[in-house]
Amino acid sequence: MDSNSGDGVGDGMGESFMGGQYVMEGGGDGEELGATENDDDNRGDNEPLREQDRFLPIANVARIMKKSIPKTGKIAKDAKETVQECVSEFISFITSEASERCHQEKRKTINGEDILFAMSTLGFDSYVEPLKQYLQKYRESSKGDKGGSGGADGTLEDLAEESFTQSLSTGLLTSEQANSQNVIYAPYSGAIAQNISFG
């Protein structure tokens, strides 16, 4: 696959692969993730995102949706598309709030704490605890990667989705019933070995 200048040349399929900013998605290359400053350089900042870039891939979205519906259930295509749009709105919504806080504190780079603060401000405080724990594991695994060889991953295992959604659902039940901000989070059950895979 040859690299190109990122001009709008070629058919639709070719464009999506030949866009300069389209680094390996899910390729597990940790180095790419850090290049937030240099990424997207090929594309001018003023160019609006193409239709396919404004949303997350529908397959990924659908896969996550399926986790929360009964096994025998199905999802209509328009529902998947709707959630796609909602998700992009969500990302923009949170980012905007986090960015504002950043500006207020005269910082240029949005960090994880800004995101957590935005979550809390915007009514997603039930996400904060699970995200904090996830971030902690991510930081620990990052240190491990720097200090050791690639084999360090073998000591960590994937964070079970269930552990997040359990603490989330417990909080949801509480807020549903009491309609208050008092949320009780279920403690982590058992020693779930952790791993963050960015693949």
Binding site: G26, E37, K74, I75, G112, L116, L122, E161
Partner: protein
């Protein structure tokens, strides 16, 4: 008799190996499902940077939002499926999402999205 014993031991071996295969498959599918659950970080970053006020976002910020997005999809779907089940349907439809939007304050920002 020896032949019968041989057959039994072969059966045991087969059961053991099939158990191993099942366990391996489960492990692989767990790993696969974990990998497949991940959302593309570069796309998330693109969406974040489409906001003109956003200058830089740390890797941590993108990862946090990615995880939050998973939680959001999960929660949205879980809420919507209540409406599906109440209507005695098996297929989650767009109208189920419409229904649940005013059930939580945190969904208010989606008001204009579903028009």
């Amino acid at each position: 008799m020896a032949g019968v014993e041989e057959m039994e031991s072969q059966t045991d071996d087969k059961e053991n190996s099939s158990e191993k295969i099942v366990k391996t498959k489960e492990k692989n599918s767990n790993q696969d499902s974990e990998k497949l659950m991940k959302l593309p970080l570069s796309r998330i970053k693109s969406i974040m940077k489409s906001d003109p006020d956003v200058t830089l976002a740390s890797q941590e910020a993108v990862i946090t939002i990615a995880k939050a997005t998973e939680l959001f999809i999960w929660e949205l779907s879980k809420d919507a499926v209540h409406s599906t089940l109440q209507s005695k349907r098996k297929t989650l439809q767009r109208k189920d999402l419409d229904c649940i939007l005013d059930t939580r304050d945190c969904y208010l920002f989606l008001e204009g999205t579903l028009d």
